[in-house]
Amino acid sequence: MNNLKKQVLIFQLNGEPVEIFADPAESLLTVLREKLGLYGTKAGCGKGECGACTVLLDDRAVNSCLVPAGKVQGRKVETIENLSQGGKVHMIQEEFVEKGAVQCGFCSPGMVMSAYALLKENPQPNPEQVKVAISGNLCRCSGYKQIEEAILSAAERLKN
């Protein structure tokens, strides 16, 4: 619509460079879903309250709905789509399934990304650190218990 505001934005997305023409004030969430077709990142509130839109920005977990697209210029973004390729899934995702951590599944992509960011930074978290790491991701189904078990189990597998 108002193309005057739009800019060319170049960033690293899931290991590949992308170039888009977008309003830099638009949220990264909107850009990912509506411009780039990556619907794995979910939108639950649009206000940074639910964590369903969690992605990694330079290896840190962020609510993509709160990140203006202009802020990702030249940076590295990683979404849930990067964790499974072809028939292979990430170990964290395997553990989520093994432990029964996926119910309605709407929080799962964001939850997995928060777990992924945690294990990148701290491969051997204790149960309290796991709780803190996912405390920005709301889940109404699970009571979090089996999610926490899955993340701790993934950390255990990392050890080996």
């Binding site: 849930i80 599944g105 803190v132």
Partner: protein, 760 residues
């Protein structure tokens, strides 16, 4: 990608039989590939938006849509006056698709538009000019019932949406003969299901197929009927095709009917698919939370702790329109009476219209609301009599063979075992000094036979595919509870095949058998029984076809058929044989579970369900006496849901349901300021995070029930019910004073301990 069988769960109670199978759809969810309603789009789709009332109560004088219609990109505009709709509703017909003469709450639907993109639709909404004449409003349900209160609906005088007075046994004799009477007033706010995915719907109007609603629902067939009625379409021309659902918890049984009806009307008018998606704010301000309640209750007790009777005067807050509130009020006002042996009850319940958000239902249908009152009174009576709350519950709780005060026939019942297990596990006999302990119990029906007198059961089809796999067709919905995985396990057991050979289809009403849907905790018991019967029927048909093919009797083991002479046959061979002999049919088993007619009378007395599940929860918490804040350390949830089909997903149900109960007990509730919802965000309407929950220990007391499939009963709703009473009792134990107004915030506990008189 290989589908793995998760390791066996560790559990202290219950049998290790049964697997932890999960339906493969968890893989699409965890990889981000599952398509939810919000992800879904159609070619040529328009975006719809609803104009809502800014006033709690006002007369509509004029709606001018000229400017909106003139905006480039706007394809359809709807107002109430142009629609010739008759009122629709779930329990009471009191709603119109769009307001015609007046608006009754902040958020009431006034106009709707469809445009080429969301921004244009939003601009069009803002361009609609509405002249209102404000009317006096009423927000408090007790005030609404008083004479002279502003009236919401002309045909519901006195703002009474529904009421009921009921006496069973002799309540007055009970109170005359009581050694002790305990009495208290309790208030419970409206609770939002707060499913994480906001409701959306794409409506498609096709001249050949009719209307198709692409929206995820717990009861697609129930919604389809109402939408067909509101549109004046034949039922066979309205379909639901559900995407993956981001949580329901009762909130998506009927979901948001206005969204479905208005998207369909916009699709008809524009001739294009129309998507309406609620924002999170709309979910709170125009969604359907569970009714708030004020419960005045008293209980007559003998000195040995025997309960003689109980009386209740209940006012429930309907909001502006009724939704399911009359039915929720009914369950709220009576289900708790059946968990104990109570000889006489007397209940008055009134559902009042107020100028607030219309209400709906939430997991457990109000049973958990009344649990707060009933279980608080039990502890109050025990305290007064110097009895142990555990002993008092064990003395009065229902047992197998009982007929309760409302006529429920208690079949297999592990309630006292649940109580003993929960108390033992929490350390009831060796309590930590200074900590608070509380108990609470619950009964919950497995599908209500009074819901629809003519339709009480469920049906299913089991079809043998040409490749030897099996497809189950059911109207029962799975949105993460594990229903479809459990159905695959049930059918696998009946057929002696692996669950992974089975696919469950439920989301398209065009092909799925009609179903009451995911409500009233009926799916495993009632829907699962139909699955078992369908699978057994298919097994017999397979045997018959195999015998015809081979000319000798056959047996089946691990998906392979064996003849007497030692020949083996794959299921696919039988499928093809039948297929060729019938010119294209598949071997299909039919399952019809039709519960016997129950002898309930007009007052609702009678056995209203095929089975009942039971639970006892025990809580241990600590209280910070300087702030009044409670920290729930541990909750033991002991459940008799019969034989557990799947321990992994059953544990998930307990953890999740208890978490919702903790939220309701400790911090949730819709707050209103002059009719405006004051906490309409997920930051202000706080639901539990990972840091807010206690250690939760599920215990399954697995007593086989004869009705459900392979001895199982329902679990999904009852998990939440006892939490409220158990937390309230533990908080009262720690504080020495009792809070009777949910949620149990630090502020209220501190003020009560300090002896402050405060307004509730």
């Amino acid at each position: 990608m290989t589908l793995k069988t998760p390791e066996k769960s560790t559990r202290r109670y219950g049998k290790a039989e049964g697997t932890d199978y999960q339906s493969p759809e968890v893989w699409s969810k965890v990889t981000g590939k599952a398509v939810y309603g919000i992800d879904h789009a159609m070619p040529g789709m328009l975006h719809g938006k609803i104009l809502r009332s800014p006033y709690p109560h006002a007369r509509i004088k004029k709606v001018d849509t000229t400017a909106a219609e003139a905006l480039p990109g706007v394809r359809a505009v709807l107002t109430g006056t142009e629609l010739e709709s008759k009122p629709f509703g779930i329990a009471v017909e009191d709603e119109l698709p769009l307001a015609v003469d007046k608006v009754r709450y902040i958020g009431d639907e006034v106009a709707a538009v469809a445009a080429v993109d969301l921004q244009t639709a939003e601009r069009a909404i803002k361009a609609i000019k509405v002249e209102y004449e404000e009317l006096p409003a009423v927000y408090d349900p007790a005030e609404a019932l008083q004479e002279g209160a502003p009236q919401l609906h002309d045909n519901f005088p006195g703002n009474v949406a529904w009421e009921r007075e009921l006496e069973r046994g002799s309540s007055s004799a009970a109170f005359a003969g009581a050694d002790v009477v305990v009495e208290e007033s309790f208030t419970i706010p409206a609770i939002h299901p707060a499913y994480l995915e906001p409701i959306s719907c794409i409506a498609v109007d096709d001249p050949y197929t009719g209307i198709t609603l692409h929206t995820a629902l717990q009861s697609p067939d129930a919604v389809r009927k109402i939408v067909a009625g509101a549109l004046n379409y034949p039922l066979s021309k309205v379909h639901v095709n559900g995407p993956v659902m981001g949580g329901g918890f009762g909130g998506r049984v009927y979901g948001n009917l206005k969204v479905y009806i208005l998207s369909a009307m916009l699709a008809i008018k524009s001739g294009r698919p129309v998507k309406i998606q609620l924002t999170r704010e709309e979910e709170f301000t125009a969604g359907r939370p569970m009714i708030a309640a004020a419960i005045k209750m008293k209980m007559a007790v003998k000195s040995d702790g025997t309960i003689l009777g109980r009386e209740a005067d209940i006012i429930t807050d309907n909001g502006a329109y009724s939704g399911q509130a009359p039915w929720v009020s009914k369950t709220l006002s009576e289900r708790n009476d059946s968990v104990y042996r109570i000889p006489g009850i007397k209940t008055r319940v009134r559902l009042a219209y107020t100028n607030k958000i219309p209400t709906g239902q939430y997991r457990a249908y109000g049973n958990q609301v009344a649990n707060f009152a009933t279980e608080s009174l039990i502890d109050m009576a025990a305290k007064k009599l110097g009895l142990d709350p555990l002993e008092m519950r064990l003395k009065n709780c229902v047992r197998e063979g009982d007929i309760t005060v409302h006529g429920l026939q208690v079949g297999k019942c592990g309630l006292s075992e649940c109580l003993q297990a929960a108390a033992r596990e929490i350390g009831w006999d060796h309590k930590k000094a200074g900590h608070g302990y509380g108990l609470s119990v619950a009964i919950h029906a497995n599908g209500s036979l009074v819901f629809d007198k003519n339709f009480r059961g469920a049906s299913a089809l089991a079809r043998l595919e040409l490749d030897g796999r099996i497809t189950l067709f059911t109207g029962e919905q799975d949105y993460g509870q594990g229903t479809h995985g459990a159905f695959a396990q049930i059918a696998a057991k009946a057929l002696d095949v692996r669950p992974a050979q089975i696919t469950v289809e439920s989301k398209e009403t065009k092909t799925a058998p009609f179903s009451t849907g995911a409500l009233a905790m009926r799916q495993t018991t009632v829907g699962g029984k139909a699955i078992q019967l369908a699978a057994e029927d298919l097994r017999e048909k397979i045997f018959k076809a195999a015998a015809e093919l081979t000319g000798e009797p056959v047996t089946m083991k691990n998906s392979v058929l064996n003849t007497m002479s030692g020949r083996t046959l794959e299921l696919g061979e039988i499928a093809y044989h039948y297929h060729n002999n019938t010119s294209g049919l598949n071997l299909t088993g039919e399952g019809k579970f039709v519960p016997e007619e129950s002898d309930y009378d007009e007052s609702g007395y009678g056995n209203i369900s095929v089975a009942y599940s039971f639970a006892a929860h025990a809580v241990e918490l600590e209280l910070d006496k300087t702030t009044g804040a409670i920290t729930v350390n541990r909750l033991v949830a002991a459940h008799d849901s019969g034989r557990i089909v799947n321990h992994l997903t059953a544990r998930g149900q307990v953890y999740g349901g208890v978490a919702q109960g903790i939220g309701m007990s400790c911090f949730e509730g819709c707050l209103f300021d002059e009719g405006r919802m004051a906490n309409a965000t997920l930051a202000d309407y706080k639901i539990p995070t990972a840091l807010d929950l206690p250690e939760i220990d599920p215990l399954f007391i697995e007593i086989e029930d004869p009705v459900g499939p392979y001895g199982s009963k329902g679990l999904g709703e009852i998990v939440m019910v006892p939490v409220i009473g158990a937390v309230a009792n533990a908080a009262a134990d720690a504080a020495g004073v009792r809070i009777t107004d949910l949620p149990l915030t630090a502020e209220k506990i501190y003020q009560a301990m300090a002896g402050w008189e405060c307004e509730q």
